[in-house]
């Protein structure tokens, strides 16, 4: 059985849910709050993982 730390809860598709925490609220709004910045949020090689096992 795997050791449980660090506790990674989110995986794959859920990963993108973190975007609010990482770029601030209303991040997906078209409103330009910092017009000189562009943010690219990315995941890679998710390999079908939707969450950890147990």
């Amino acid at each position: 059985m795997k050791e449980l730390a660090p506790r990674v809860r989110l995986a794959s598709v859920l990963a993108l849910l973190a975007l609010l925490a990482l770029v601030g609220t209303s991040a997906l709004s078209d409103t330009i709050r910092e017009p000189d910045k562009l943010v690219i949020l990315s995941t890679t090689d998710v390999k079908g993982k939707t969450s950890p096992c147990g």
Partner: protein
């Protein structure tokens, strides 16, 4: 700080690694679409069921999957959309994607060809720029070194997301004029590339950092529910398939000379070791799967039971009482090979690494972990550690 110009992308390599998990593939495509993903790269993993299957799923989900150098044979036309240009706030951003020409395309190998990434990149960047993109992002499945070499050689790429067996590096760096991202895999991390723009929307500076997604990171409840409902349904579906497989495995197991026997038999003679084992988290491994409703999920079961789908080993949850948990034979080998133990069969790091892999047990250290479960250690520390590390949020979601 709040940013208004945000694009969400996936670099590809998101299809599952098992043929039995086609449901996961289409679910992930739907989920990415729901999340508003503006571009999705492609790897050979997405071709595991052939190009026709992939195309049908792209059309069904409406997902913007791209690959610039994957060509159909004999026409040599792009098999997928080669790039997308998205208006993100006031900026026109061009996304293109590359695969390595060294990978095996599996069932698609006779109908597809991967063109040389370097030449395709030059051509595609020119085309994207001519169409008005002021920022160009490469979704690369070339691996770390080849990705870096390419952006160093091909001008005009502002950012590259590096994928395909690329280790996590928390901070990206500049390779000539390109900011790189090494965001880690299996959905445990989210990478943020921050591009500063001039008045004409061109990049002036770039920065990148990847974040581990711990329970402290926020999530949308409705999306979390969508995933949980899917996982629960998948677990039940796999439970039915498991029963069908089990009948065949049991028959094979009865004929096998070497097979698993379960801890109960071992403990008849090794009572002290059995008693100590019950003070370790290994003895609770099955319950963690039950709590997470992953007790029929084939990806998870092997590291939580004895001899999954092997002769004499765990076949279905009906075997959990006898063969659930990480037992004697997980570490010491088949019970029917008991006589080998005295002939040099040892618990080595390789024994543990079958389950304590980077993605499942990132802190694993053989020298530190082995004493925690050694038969001389009755402290119960691994169980205590497990309880301490389960946050209230995790307990309520039933996940680890």
């Amino acid at each position: 700080m709040t940013y208004g110009q945000v694009a969400v992308v996936d670099n590809g390599g998101f299809f599952p690694e098992s043929d039995a998990q086609q449901d996961v593939a289409w679910f992930m495509m739907d989920a990415m679409r729901t999340l508003g993903t503006v571009a999705v790269g492609t790897s050979e993993k997405e071709l595991r069921w052939g190009i026709a299957y992939l195309k049908s799923q792209i059309a069904r989900a409406g997902l913007p999957m791209i690959c610039s150098n994957l060509m159909e044979l004999p026409s040599r036309r792009p098999a997928l959309k080669p790039y997308v240009i998205e208006k993100v706030g006031r900026v026109r951003v061009g996304f293109f994607a590359l695969m390595s020409d060294k990978v095996d395309l599996g069932p698609a190998r006779d109908s597809l060809k991967i063109e040389a990434p370097d030449a395709v990149a030059r051509r595609t960047v020119d085309e994207i720029r001519k169409k008005g993109a002021t920022v160009v992002v490469l979704l690369s499945q070339l691996g770390k070194v080849e990705s870096e070499d390419l952006v160093a050689a091909v001008p005009g790429i502002d950012a590259v997301i590096c994928g395909h067996n690329v280790p996590l590096i928390q901070k990206g760096r500049m390779v000539k004029n390109t900011v790189t991202s090494y965001g880690g895999e299996q959905g445990q991390y989210l990478s943020r590339t921050l591009i500063t723009l001039d008045a004409r929307g061109h990049m002036t500076t770039g920065d990148n950092e990847s974040f581990i997604l711990t329970p402290e990171v926020g999530e949308k409840p409705e999306m979390a529910k969508l995933v949980k409902d899917f996982e629960d349904a998948l677990n039940e579906k796999q439970r039915k398939a498991e029963k069908e497989r089990a009948a065949e495995s049991v028959a094979a197991g009865q004929q096998a000379t070497d097979h698993y026997i379960g801890a109960d038999l071992c403990i008849r003679c090794h009572a002290g070791e059995g008693k100590q084992w019950k003070t370790t988290a290994h003895s609770l491994a099955w319950q963690t799967l039950v709590d997470a409703k992953k007790d029929a999920t084939a990806d998870c079961i092997p590291c939580h039971v004895v001899g999954y789908q092997q002769p004499g080993g765990f076949q279905t949850s009906a075997d959990a009482l006898r063969l659930g948990n990480v037992q004697c034979e997980n570490c010491h080998g088949l019970g029917t090979r008991h006589d080998d133990y005295g002939k040099g069969a040892q618990v080595t790091e390789a024994t543990c690494l079958k389950c304590h892999r980077t993605e499942t047990s990132p802190d694993f250290n053989f020298g530190k972990y082995l004493p925690k479960i050694a038969h001389s250690n009755t402290s119960g520390e691994t169980i205590q550690n497990m309880k301490n590390k389960v946050s209230p949020m995790m307990k309520s979601s039933g996940s680890n």
